[in-house]
Amino acid sequence: MDTAVNSAIGRVDSFFEWFGNLGIFFWQVLRAAVTPPYEWRELIRQLDEVGSKSFPLVFAAGAAIGVILSLEARYSLTRFGAKSMFPASLVYSLLQVMGPVITGLMVSGRVGAGIGAELASMKVTEQIDAIEASAINPYRILAAPRIMACILMLPLLTLVADASGLLMGWFAQTLVEPLSFHQFIDSGFKTAHLNSFLPQTFKTTVYGLIIGLIACFEGMRTRGGAEGVGRAATKSVVLASLFLILSDVVMVKLILVVFP
């Protein structure tokens, strides 16, 4: 019984210690990011790495979700005699919920694992120590550009997912019941306004922060050789995805309150 209690206390302790260390890490990165010299070249490289190279995956995921939503929505709405609501239901489902979340999870998997593994590999081979020994701030050159790139690219990638989802959702619908794209968009956005999807798109900057921060944190504190690298990559994806979903619970409520 005592062992179980001690073990539980130990786990709680580790949990808070992890958060504390993450907070310190975030502060170090923030300080490094706002003080010159700025690593513009590295930031541009990371924008390409996070943004351009995630484009095909996000496009494909968005397209697949668009088709799935189209098939499911059409079936459900037809049952309830609300087939005319199909375009609006697809637009709202994609832009408000599925587009941001799917983009976040796809990028968390691809970019989170990539950053976590890359930095973990650098850590176990002492490359990060070599950077620090060369009087270069590793938070400035490694972490800050990666986190900034994630923050800046997530909203743009979300728009890509939304666009591909709408396109393929329309296409799937047209195969069953012809509907011009113009009619589809017109009908779908008839009752929409900017507040319907802009906050949901820009909330993905928080996703980007979560993905970049956790991946960099886990990567840069890795220990234990190849096993450690694998563990860092896995933890980066799992924790980033988990916190992304949890943060969405809070942000959805916040958006509904601020933008009723």
Partner: protein, 262 residues
């Protein structure tokens, strides 16, 4: 008017500066959990001097170098660079100190996504923004020529051998013209010929640059070749410190055993 007294005072101050240790470690303690690695050691190195730190594997030699460059924080004690205690300094302050130091890691720690030339250029690109790209390029070629790697500029670290990686690591460590050079097992894992080449290279650089150097090694032959003084670590303490002849004349059992087995 400058008098002969003024000149003599200046020369005297200059001599004092030269004789004051550039690196001084006092009562340094470090442990990892229950394992005590360093138990209150005292060492110092002057300008133009090479100190070899010897000992069996796991005696804290590499930890000592990491403490000196600030990659580890000691439990107690001080690490003084030019008289300034660097323990507890913030990262940016530590950066100013590190610009005066060059560190060769045991496995070179080259950046594996950069070419040989880019690796050497890396510290220059960040700290010598006053240099043009072509000036940096010339400096990189000069550094690589010093270590005999001028023909391998565009190779990746994975394309070159361990000995060649150490040469590139050494060139990178020298990029900012450091006053202090820290070398972690520079000949570890190398064949005897490559080891001798690295030793000759270190000697040549020492003669030319007059840096204060600390070399961590378990290779006694290498230590004898390149070092002015040797210090033997065991169980967290400095067992003996002095010239090789002092070690030979020592009655300490561990020293005799170490010399016999090397």
């Amino acid at each position: 008017m400058v008098t002969t007294y003024d000149i003599a005072m200046k020369q005297s101050e200059s001599k004092k500066e030269d004789s004051a240790p550039i690196v001084a470690v006092k009562e340094l303690r470090k442990s990892f959990g229950d394992h005590i690695v360093l138990n209150g050691i005292n060492l110092s190195v002057n300008r133009g001097e090479t100190l070899a730190v010897l000992g069996r594997s796991g005696t804290g030699k590499s930890v000592l170098l990491r403490l000196i460059i600030g990659l580890e924080i000691p439990d107690s004690g001080s690490v003084c660079i030019h008289g300034q205690n660097i323990v507890g300094l913030a990262l940016d302050q530590m950066g100013e100190i590190r610009k005066k130091m060059g560190f060769l890691f045991q496995h070179a720690a080259l950046y594996d996504s950069l070419t040989v030339a880019e690796n050497v250029e890396f510290p220059l690109a960040h700290h010598r923004r006053d240099m043009s790209r072509s000036e940096r390029g010339d400096r990189v070629k000069q550094l690589l020529a010093e270590v005999g790697m001028e023909g391998d500029l565009n190779k990746m670290p994975s394309d070159i051998s361990g000995g060649m990686q150490k040469r590139v690591g050494l060139a990178r460590a020298l990029a900012l013209e450091p006053e202090i050079l820290l070398l972690d097992e520079p000949t570890a894992g190398l064949d005897p010929i490559s080891s001798a080449e690295i030793d000759d290279l270190i000697l040549k650089l020492q003669r030319e640059r007059k840096m204060a150097s600390i070399v961590v090694t378990h290779d006694l032959h290498s230590a004898r070749t390149i070092a002015n003084r040797l210090a033997l670590l065991d169980q967290g303490n400095v067992v003996i410190e002095g010239k090789y002849e002092d070690l030979q004349q020592s009655d300490i059992a561990l020293v005799k055993e170490f010399l016999k087995q090397s």
